[in-house]
């Protein structure tokens, strides 16, 4: 086939479009993150993650400011979570990190609530105040247990009801 500049241009555009789609899939959707500017890396320990995964969002007032970059078990068998946040954030030292759920059964994510301390969290610091995930099963179990207990105190057995003190 003879060389044709117009066709070569279209082939080039096709390859570029394909590579652009690949890049979009890998970078935006797949979340391969290069170090985009400065980042604030913080750690936080929790007793219960309740299904928190890496790449889960970290939000302040509902605005996404970063993500969970790593989850590991520390020597005391508590979950140590590494948060990778926007480097422009200035967080007070008494900031609280809580694991919450989107909707009733949705994904877990981390909410940061800012405190009022004058000192700021620096890169690599640990967030001291954390709130673990609430497990729905445990909550339901407690509810059932409490309801059962309440019925018992009202008088579980017939004798107790008739000849109570």
């Amino acid at each position: 086939m003879s060389p044709s500049p117009a066709r070569d241009l279209v082939v080039g555009l096709f390859v570029l479009a394909g590579l652009a789609a690949l890049a979009w899939l890998s970078l935006t959707v797949g979340g391969v993150d290069f170090d985009r500017g400065e980042q604030l890396v913080l750690r936080a320990r929790f007793d219960e993650l309740g299904g928190l995964k890496t790449r889960a969002p970290v939000v302040i007032s509902g605005v996404r400011v970063g993500q969970v970059s790593a989850i590991a078990l520390d020597p005391d068998y508590r979950a140590e979570v590494t948060l990778r946040l926007d480097g422009r954030l200035r967080l007070p030292a008494d900031t609280t990190a809580s694991i919450v759920t989107a909707g009733l059964l949705g994904d877990r994510y981390i909410v940061l609530q800012l405190g009022g301390d004058d000192r700021l969290l620096a890169n690599g610091d640990e967030i001291a105040f954390t709130e673990s995930a609430v497990l729905l099963e445990r909550l339901l179990g407690k509810l059932v247990h409490d309801a059962g207990g309440e019925r018992n105190t009202r008088g579980g057995s017939p004798e107790g009801k008739d000849g109570g003190p």
Partner: protein
């Protein structure tokens, strides 16, 4: 008495010989890729035929599949009040399975059959023999550029298919059914992982490209030099190619450790 058994034996021997010949063919084409010249000119021309001309089919199918996924996913998710996860459903289905598999099936039908028919009719009109007579290796001139172009084109087409599909799902989910646009993209981005999803999707596309390129060129190259031979080569390219894609898809998925 022994005739059916003998027929079975004959079939088995022929299948084994065919597979062996295909493997030798694969190795020969592989050697052609490593031997200069690269024949970039022919590869670009084949990329035009196999890739650019498949673009309309791939994009239309991608958008349509994404729209169907959006509708079906929405109807299921709305029962659980979890329509914010629509992006995850559409994205994961497309990236993990539908993108590479449907692209490969479409490419087999659109480009693989054309490749087999082209090489087959070259065999039928003795063009390859003419090349051999001039001591030019037809594997290097005719087969290698087509096979290479197929492998190059497949991941690109697959990525475009997935992008179109995500757009189609967005059209139906966000524009038509009123799912929040931010939630659609966020659930897409948080659920799709690079290593588990995007990398395996790419690997699948490349392997399917090798499979389709291999089957199409081999069937064309070994077709009987008649009109019926060319038609048989085209048919078996589509059949064997499609079956091989689906079988390999299972094994790649299982070996990549999705189940573990």
């Amino acid at each position: 008495m022994t005739t059916p058994v003998r027929a079975l034996g004959f079939l088995a021997v022929r299948a084994a010989a065919d597979l062996g010949a295909a493997a030798v063919f694969f190795a020969q084409v592989g050697r052609c890729i490593l031997t200069p010249p690269l024949r970039l000119r022919s590869i670009v021309d084949e990329t035009w035929k196999l890739g650019v001309l498949s673009l309309v089919v791939i994009c239309v199918c991608g958008i349509t599949v994404g729209m169907v996924l959006g509708l079906q996913g929405y109807n299921t998710l709305v029962r659980f009040g979890a329509t914010e996860s629509l992006g995850a459903v559409v994205g994961l289905s497309l990236v993990r399975e539908l993108g590479p598999v449907l692209t490969a099936l479409l490419a087999t039908g659109r480009a693989g059959s054309a490749t087999a028919a082209e090489i087959g009719s070259m065999v039928a009109s003795e063009q390859l023999d003419g090349l051999r007579m001039m001591s030019i290796d037809p594997l290097h001139v005719v087969v290698m550029p087509k096979a290479v172009a197929m492998v190059v084109v497949m991941p690109l087409l697959s990525a475009l298919f997935i992008a179109c599909g995500v757009f189609g799902g967005w059209l139906v989910g966000v524009r038509l059914l009123g799912v929040d646009g931010g939630a659609y993209l966020t659930s897409l981005e948080t659920s799709v992982d690079f290593r588990d999803d995007v990398a395996s999707s790419l690997l699948k596309a490349v392997i399917f490209g090798i499979l389709v390129g291999w089957v199409a060129t081999y069937r064309g190259y070994t077709s009987a030099p008649t009109a019926a031979g060319v038609s048989a080569a085209t048919t078996s390219t589509v059949v064997i190619g499609s079956v091989a894609i689906l079988v390999f898809d299972y094994f790649i998925t299982a070996l990549w450790g999705v189940g573990a």
